[in-house]
Subunit: 138 residues, 2 copies
C-alpha cells in the first residue's frame, strides 16, 4: 500500500501540506526567515511518533479493559550539533492518570506498540530508503 502527500510552497519559508483531506501549515521561525505560521517540520516527526504509538497504546488498553481518565505523551529529541541536524536520541514518555490502573497491562501495551505495531518507531529505529527526483515546467 502506498501513502502520498503533497506539500506546496506558500511564501518565504511557509509550506502547506494536504494529507488525508486535512491541511497542515509548516513554517520557520522569525530567526530563520519564517513567520511561525505553523510548526517546524522537524518537530512534526516527534508529533508523528507520539500519535502513532499513542493510538496503538489506547487501542490495546481498550481491549484489555484498561481505561485511563487522562493520557498524554511527551516526546523529547536531542539534536545533533552538526549538519544535517537530526534527533540522535528520542525519548517517549507515556503519562497515565486514573484510578487502579494496572501497571503491568500498561507496560505490556507500550511494549506491544514499541516492538510490534508502531510503524513510526520502527522506521525511526531501523531507517528506510529515501530517493529523490525533480521536474521543471515553464
Amino acid at each position: 500500500m502506498k501513502s502520498k502527500i503533497e506539500c506546496r510552497w506558500l511564501e518565504n519559508m511557509a509550506f502547506e501540506a494536504e494529507v488525508n483531506d486535512h491541511t497542515i501549515v509548516m513554517d520557520a521561525d522569525e530567526l530563520n526567515g519564517g513567520n511561525n505560521l505553523g510548526p517546524r517540520p522537524k518537530t512534526l516527526t516527534l508529533v508523528s511518533l507520539a500519535g502513532c504509538t499513542g493510538m496503538d497504546v489506547i487501542a490495546i488498553l481498550k481491549k484489555m479493559k484498561v481505561e485511563p481518565e487522562e493520557f498524554h505523551i511527551t516526546v523529547e529529541g536531542d539534536l545533533t550539533e552538526d549538519h544535517p541536524r537530526y534527533y540522535e536520541k528520542i525519548i517517549v514518555t507515556y503519562h497515565f492518570k486514573g484510578k487502579d490502573l494496572a501497571a503491568d497491562k500498561i507496560q505490556k501495551a507500550i511494549q506491544l506498540s514499541q516492538d510490534r505495531y508502531c510503524g513510526v518507531s520502527a522506521m525511526l529505529r531501523n531507517g528506510t530508503v529515501v530517493e529523490h527526483e525533480f521536474t521543471i515546467e515553464e
Copy 2:
C-alpha cells in the same frame, strides 16, 4: 539542543499535539475506530520530510537567485505488508514551475538538502535511538 512536544489523548483515537505554539490534531479513519478529525500520524512523517527538505531547497535557491513561480513536493511512501507497518521506501519529487529556471542549480540545491542539510532525510535514512518510559498517577 532539545526539542519537546506534548501530545494529549482527546477521545477514541484522536490526539492533539502542542508544537511550537501550534496545535495539530491527529486521528484514525472511521474503519479504525476514529473520526478523521485530523491526519493519520504515520502520514505526518511524510509531511515532516517534505517541509524539512522544501525549506532547505527554497532557501538555497534564494541564495542562488533562482526564484520559481511555483514549487511543490510530492512524497510517496510504500508501506510494508507486515507489522510494524512502515514506509520501506520513500520517494520525494520536487516540482518547479517558472521561466528559465537553471536545472543545474536546482539539482545542486536538492543535492545539498539531501546530503547535507535535511535532518529529517538523514534521520530516516540512518535511523536513530528511540527509548521509552511511563508514569502512572492516581
